[in-house]
């Protein structure tokens, strides 16, 4: 509101001094998109969820981030070095990077920001990623001079940088200390990103304004890093709870860019007033199998189920033909996705029947847990049920509320098979870690697999990593702790007003790519 009043005053002044002609050139460009729920707050890494991270990601940056192929690239760091023993990381900071309040970033700010999220008093869940609770223990994180920041680990850990770059921690965002009040309470994010905080009307919308003094890296946009040459003055997210309403608003021209489903993408594809961007993401759609279940404890039954389900047909059906099967947990855009990861137990009903017979299966009920709240969980479960029944498996569908399904997932009990989706994991080892381990919720508890997975997270040698990932995938196919379907296709519908936007595998919006057509 203040901004609009300010703009009106400027235009009035320009007219008064006979410069009315420049007024149209000063009009602000705005791109409107939507969120299905309001942001949870403005404190990166603390008040957060997926929606909130998406908005925060425009205002904040960390020392490193993810590239298009999920490799780690410097962001606020100019470069970094890893000591020979793999324990010390030395980051050289970029010069001339400014915070939204105009001050220049120094190594002291980086140290303050690190302690804000990873320090003992931190309210962020991120501190547990670095305090030894989850394999990584940072023993020291110190500024050295104005442009060097050094982190020392107790033990070397290959995914340390990948953990630093996590989106849910805002890539361990570097913020100006004035982001908090004198009494330590949160004020507002004063980051280094291409956009800064604008209006936020809770439950209605959130706006970000372009940061004029943003110091972009050279080169093109690359994943969540690279050059960020934002040109749109204001990005506005309207809170729209219902997908059908977002679609209507896109058609009406009230929204410019909307995340859409496959059916809408197919509808808009031939419409000249709109464009659709479809991209495969690292979001993994799968069926988790409970190997502790008396029926599913027999690997032959699990293999039979895998042969009974056709991932190709299911993926094609839920994506209106846009998507394809990629049953490996490692996403196809990963550098570790090779011919080995492309293999899976193919659809073969006869083989499924033979395996069932061999296992002595006599029609025991196998229940598929699913929810209607989350995207296509239910549809995928329904198709799997039909295919399993086709192969002679007595499959039943149990539809529950999302909270109940999440509880079953966490406890690792109360289900035999469940339609599930994992958010993007941008390291091949983490792609297996999401369902492999000792914890109750993990579907794959085989000690050998757990050991291999842990090794994949420790090794810094790319060749060794590939070898471990290949072995893990082979074991995954043999033991079938889960039946992978594919990596979700993300669809974005755009009005003809905007251009330049592309989805990427991590599924986050990158508003700095947007251009408003003249």
């Amino acid at each position: 509101m203040k901004q609009r009043a300010g703009k009106a005053r400027l235009i009035a002044l320009a007219t008064a001094v006979g410069l009315g002609g420049i007024a149209p050139a000063m009009a602000q460009s705005m791109v409107k998109t939507s969120l299905n729920a309001d942001i949870r707050g403005t404190n990166p890494g603390v008040t957060r969820d997926g929606n909130t991270d998406d908005v925060h990601g425009h205002m904040i940056e960390g020392l490193v981030t993810y590239a298009n192929d999920f490799s780690i690239i410097p962001m606020l760091a100019d470069s970094y070095e890893i000591s020979e023993d793999g324990r010390t990381y030395t980051f050289k900071l970029r010069k001339g990077v400014k915070f939204h309040n105009g001050e220049e970033m120094t190594a002291k700010d980086v140290e303050w920001s690190w302690n804000r999220l990873a320090g003992e008093a931190s309210e962020s869940h991120c501190k547990n990623f670095f305090n030894g609770e989850n394999n990584i223990e940072v023993t020291s994180a110190k500024a050295e001079g104005d442009d060097t920041f050094v982190i020392t680990l107790a033990e070397p850990y290959a995914v340390f940088l990948a953990t630093m770059a996590r989106f849910d921690c805002g890539s361990m965002a570097v913020l100006h200390p004035d982001s908090v009040n004198a009494d330590g309470t949160w004020n507002k994010p004063i980051g280094t990103g291409p956009y800064m905080m604008g209006d936020h009307a809770p439950g209605r919308y959130v706006e970000l304004n372009r940061f004029e003094d943003y110091a972009s890296r050279e080169g093109a946009s690359d994943g969540y890093g690279g050059g960020k040459n934002a040109t749109v003055d204001v990005l506005r997210w309207e809170v729209v709870g219902e997908g059908a309403v977002s679609k209507t608003a896109l058609l009406a021209g009230d929204l410019d860019l909307v995340s859409i489903d496959a059916m809408t993408a197919a509808e808009l594809k031939g419409n000249p007033d709109f464009s659709v961007d479809a991209a495969e993401s690292a979001v993994w759609d799968t069926y988790l199998l409970n190997s502790d279940d008396p029926v599913l404890s027999d690997v032959r039954i699990r293999r039979a189920m895998a042969h009974a389900i056709d991932p190709q047909r299911i993926m094609a059906a839920i994506t209106e033909g846009f998507g394809k099967a990629s049953p490996s947990p490692v996403p196809p855009m990963s550098a570790n996705y090779t011919d080995v990861q492309a293999k899976y137990l193919t659809y073969d009903v006869e083989k499924a029947k033979a395996l069932l017979e061999e296992a002595g299966y006599s029609g025991e009920e196998i229940t598929i847990l699913a929810t209607r709240r989350n995207g296509a969980y239910y549809e995928r479960a329904l198709m799997a049920q039909a295919m399993m029944m086709d192969a002679g498996i007595n499959a039943k569908l149990e539809v529950v509320e999302w909270g109940s399904q999440l509880e079953a997932y966490r406890n690792g009990s109360g289900y035999q098979m469940q339609s599930f989706t994992f958010s993007p994991r941008l390291h091949a080892g983490l792609s297996f870690e999401m369902f492999t381990g000792d914890a109750d919720r993990k579907a794959w508890k085989n000690p050998e697999a757990v050991a291999m997975m842990n090794e994949s997270l420790r090794t810094g040698d790319p060749e060794e990593l590939q070898a471990i990932i290949d072995r893990l995938h082979q074991a995954f196919i043999e033991e079938v702790p889960a039946i992978g379907l594919g990596h979700r296709t993300l669809f974005t519908g755009m009005s003809s007003k905007v251009e330049g936007y592309e989805n990427w595998g991590a599924g986050l919006l990158r508003g700095w790519m947007l251009r408003v057509k003249d």
């Binding site: 008040t47 849910d168 059908a244 909270g403 966490r410």
Partner: protein, 315 residues
Amino acid sequence: MPTFVLKRVLMSIPTFVIVAVIIFALVRALPGDPALMMLGGNIDDEATLRQMRSQLGLDKPVPVQFVVWLREVFSGNLGTSIMTGQEVGSLLWQRFGVTATVVLLAMGSALLVSIPAGLLAAHRHNSRTDYTIVFLTILKLSMPSFWVGLMLLVLFGAILGWLPTVGFVSISDDLGRGMVYLILPVTSLALSEIAVLTRMMRAGSLEIMGRDYITHARAKGLPERKVLWRHVFPNAFAPTLTMVGVMLAGLLAGAAVTETVFTLPGLGKLLVDSIYARDYPVLQGALLFIAAVYVLTNLIVDIAYSFFDPRVRLS
């Protein structure tokens, strides 16, 4: 009347205590862990989950949680939202303001249409006018509100481009723009209410029109308009008013569907979101607030009833 009001207010205290117990028990009986929901489901470590539970006070025994909550409620503190950190009390007021604006405008518009329509249908009983009115109300009643809302958006937003499809501007900030954003949700809500209230008004009027005193009024030569407005309307409206009270309380408690379709930041939307997020403080606060809205609305309707039906005396 003051005695009646005082009595009703005192009677509502035990109601609130019972409601509070039921709300707390039901909310805790919901499957799903709020800490887990808050962390987005994909939990990377147990320590984070433990920390979150402790932060939310969920690591204490349930009876202790109840006593703590009740004590805070009686001291006027409904807590803070797990999801947004906002104070529940102020959040409810903010959201209630939006809902009340839409609902009261819709109810006002609905009454302006349904009273004359119901009277007219009864007056022209079994005529083409009556059949048309009855047909239209049945047609509207058989359409789901979600679908009607979407169709209004598609027609007036996407096809004609006359009205905005998303967003909301408070009328206290900008009356003109605020009203533009309210046209579709108010119309959508009013259409549902018109259908019910017209049918109630028609049925009530038909019953009254068969009474002796109406025949007497006509026999003494009163013009038909006077018969309708002076004798039929006040008597036929009393049962409709009861329905208005029930509908009003229900809608003020949250017109969730309308608020979702028209992206209104109202109480109903807040309630639905808090259920999905297992935001206990907001959920409990909202349900208590809704109970208060019901009690208050029904009290107002009871008082108003005596003005329309002289046989009812407040005592």
